[in-house]
């Protein structure tokens, strides 16, 4: 029995109906309808959950290594310039490192924000817009970054 099925009687009968709709969240009915998604075997949520943990472990190495090299070793941030970047991307090792970091951090961050949106945005339209924005920004950044890593030209004028 959901709240909407509770029938108040007598003098309460008319007061109740508006009061609920006005002041309170919608009753949280768990009744399953045709629109309720079927339980999905081999489940996206499980994959996303696992991905957050596995990518997190790899990111510890990639991100901390990245920060160490860029900001601490060899004179810190002041050494970074076009020549420094060109020097590193001359090696396939650092290309793969940066590519992996780009993809993992972007997908990890995007999936994290997807959960945050699911948790905090209550209205269907707000969710739709926020997620649309998030996915657009993610795809754009990943594609642009990948393009740059692969097409980088150290002799550009």
């Amino acid at each position: 029995m959901s709240t909407s099925e509770i029938n108040l009687t007598g003098s309460s009968a008319d007061a109740a109906e508006d009061a609920y709709t006005l002041s309170l969240d919608a009753p949280r009915s768990r009744t399953r309808t045709k629109k309720t998604p079927r339980s999905t075997r081999g489940n996206f949520e499980m994959a996303a959950w696992l991905f957050m943990r596995l990518s997190g472990i790899v990111l510890v190495v990639l991100v901390l290594g990245h920060l160490l090299i860029q900001l601490v070793l060899d004179g810190g941030v002041s050494k970074i310039g076009f020549a420094f970047v060109a020097g590193r991307w001359a090696s396939p090792f650092w290309q793969v490192w940066d590519l992996a970091m780009l993809w993992l951090a972007m997908l990890h961050g995007a999936n994290g924000l997807r959960t945050v949106i699911n948790d905090y945005a209550e209205r269907v339209n707000t969710r739709l817009w926020l997620k649309g924005l998030l996915y657009t920004a993610t795809v754009f950044t990943i594609l642009l970054g990948t393009l740059v890593i692969f097409t980088f030209d150290p002799n550009i004028r």
């Binding site: 108040l8 003098s11 499980m46 959950w49 948790d119």
Partner: protein, 253 residues
């Protein structure tokens, strides 16, 4: 025989233990007003009394319209979970002295379930999630058992913690994921699924796991530990949820 006499003498000789306590209660009556409001009640109470005693004093002596659930008054029936000073607790297990009686003590209905009147909420979505995990023994043998279903102490120990649940909803209504849309099964349902999934006598663990593999199942848990903090039975709720997640990934249980 001598004990009551002694008690009396002691109580009389000591200074009166009574202090003035303010209970600030979130009142709501849809027949009168659409919005809830706060109401303060001043009470003379012994700090060793419980918040439930305060509510009873109000209901019996000051304002009979105050509405709340309670039954056993000893932390067994699970009726009186409420938000006391912003934390989910059982009113019957919360001593006044433990909730900072120098300031007004706030008492609200638990969150995430629709308030019907004062401290009474609609528990139906909570129990629906409970029923959804099939909280009863399911076995493959169709014959009427002719003897007890035996189990080793180790096998019993495996799910001992989750047998202690009294279905008070303190955990589920403390969970920020449940607050959002109430579609998440919630910690209590997972605790009660855990109770059977890890029971060696039960044969439907696989089915229950599949139910909790749902979009609104265990994967929505964000490990905030609110449920473990809230549980009046001291159940390690978050741990139970993690064990279900692990069983889903390894398929060993």
């Amino acid at each position: 025989m001598a004990t009551p006499v002694l008690d009396k003498a002691e109580a009389a000789s000591a200074a009166s233990p009574y202090i003035t306590v303010t209970l600030r209660i979130r009142r709501f009556n849809p027949e009168v007003a659409a919005e809830p409001h706060w109401e303060d009640f001043q009470l003379e109470m012994d700090p060793k009394e419980r918040v439930l005693d305060g509510l009873n004093k109000i209901k019996w002596d000051l304002d009979g319209t105050l509405t709340y659930r309670r039954s056993c008054a000893h932390g067994i029936c699970g009726s009186d979970a409420m938000r006391i000073n912003g934390k989910n607790r059982l009113a019957c297990k919360t001593l006044i002295k433990d909730v900072n009686p120098g300031k007004p003590i706030t008492v609200e209905p638990i969150k995430g379930l629709t308030a019907l009147k004062d401290l009474v909420v609609d528990m139906e979505p909570f129990f629906q999630a409970y029923r959804d995990v099939m909280p009863f023994l399911i076995t493959n043998d169709t014959n009427e058992p002719t003897r007890e279903r035996l189990q080793s102490p180790e096998d019993r120990e495996r799910f001992d913690d989750t047998t202690k649940c009294i279905l008070c909803a303190a955990c589920t209504s403390s969970c920020p994921v449940f607050w959002n849309d109430g579609q998440y099964f919630g910690p209590a349902a997972i605790v009660n699924a855990h109770r059977f999934i890890f029971d060696s006598r039960d044969d439907a663990g696989e089915q229950r796991l599949e139910i909790l593999n749902d979009r609104d199942g265990v994967w929505r848990c964000r490990t905030t530990f609110n449920c473990t903090d809230a549980c009046p039975r001291g159940i390690e709720v978050t741990k139970a949820i993690q064990e279900v997640k692990r069983a889903l990934i390894t398929r060993r249980f």
